[in-house]
Symmetry: C2
Subunit: 213 residues, 2 copies
DNA sequence: AATTGTGAAACACTTCACAGCC
DNA sequence: GGCTGTGAAGTGTTTCACAATT
């Protein structure tokens, strides 16, 4: 396949394209142009066509893209035909919100199991996701088919838990702890640093002194 | 000042440097090198020195950087001496988590007020942050000194609320709705798309077929 | 001896401009 | 005529390599 080498910047945009195609399909659209996609997503239309071109010729010149074809194409690329099982580590504020949050809505990803050390939480469940003792994590994850973990534990324990995750064959980690994780380079990590996002937003806001009023 | 033009990539890293300096200061370190910073953050040491150089010469050759100086420098740059007041729109799962979440810990940013349309929530407060009726948003935000908003409302209403935020002079928006916001270009928007992050993580994981095992 | 700060090179990503096809 | 797909140019970011400084 021409799956060869998708640039990271392109890979990060695929879910946005996919979501757009889902909406277009549900609202009965049959075709879309890169210009349509551009105005809905804010991504430049040339960038969109370039992104698509890494996968081969998906459109028709003078016509645009067939909604159903493209939807199915992205569904396949994003592996959204089969369920991806996820474990969540750390049922604090953020962890609880993510358990409630419906990742399922746009994608075939499900948090199947959660872990914490708080005896108040162990044994309970949130939105049907059972919470187990973090100390017994290995026992549950070994041979569970779970390859993806969401890390919402305090910074101090993040690295230690990551090492345990790697030992039970977790392949990808969505990390919310504001801490650089050291992992073998076959393990994929995406970091979401909420405090840093807010802080840099404020920084950039001050950089361009207000032009209105 | 030599504040001239900080590249976006550099600006996004400043909170990470700042957090490192806070930790270094608290643990009594007097000096750090770009190599120390690099191993703690995962950012290449040349990149760190290049980033710092946009602000002038902050270090001493053969020595490194003075922890206290650098800490104070970043505190000033990130405007962390004065409190930045924030409004939160949409007290659902994620909004609630962010109200509980302690942004204060690393930075001088505080969610002061929240809005929702659910009568169950209006009038209550979460962690001391009062929740008001979203319909009365303008009344509360006008002349409140609040310039930053966190948007955790459903996608369908995001654009409509953004227009109302712009009308009451909000300058920066941290957007969690998976929706492209159209704003005047003096308004700064940072998007955090949780479902897209998880989905692209899974995509990249599948790209590099597992090398271990 | 250690470590910064920075020209220059390399790399990554976006945008322009337009040929080609429907 | 409308729209894709892509070479080539432009822009932004990282990394190399090393002179300068303490």
């Amino acid at each position: 396949m021409e799956n060869a080498k998708i640039p990271p910047a392109t890979g990060r945009r695929l879910p946005i394209y996919y979501r757009f195609m889902q909406n277009a399909y549900e609202s009965g659209k049959l075709r879309v142009s890169s210009a349509d996609l551009s105005s809905a997503t804010g991504i430049d239309s040339t960038t969109i066509r370039r992104d698509f071109s890494y996968f081969g010729a998906l459109g028709k010149k003078g016509y645009g893209y067939d909604v159903q074809n493209l939807l199915l194409f992205f569904r396949k690329k994003l592996d959204d035909e089969k369920l991806t099982k996820v474990a969540l580590l750390g049922v604090g504020n953020l962890g609880t919100a993510l358990l409630n949050y419906n990742f399922n809505k746009n994608n075939n990803t499900r948090i199947d199991i959660a872990f914490d050390i708080d005896p108040e939480k162990i044994g309970k469940n949130i939105c049907g996701v059972p919470i187990f003792n973090l100390n017994e994590m290995e026992w549950h994850l070994k041979n569970s088919g779970i390859e993806v973990a969401i890390l919402t534990v305090p910074s101090k324990v993040a690295q230690e838990i990551v090492e345990r995750l790697v030992a039970v064959n977790i392949q990808a980690i969505l990390n919310f702890a504001p801490e650089h994780l050291k992992v073998p380079n076959n393990i994929r990590v995406h970091n979401i640093d909420l405090a840093a996002e807010l802080q840099s937003l404020v920084f950039f806001m001050k950089q361009y002194p207000m032009e209105n009023d």
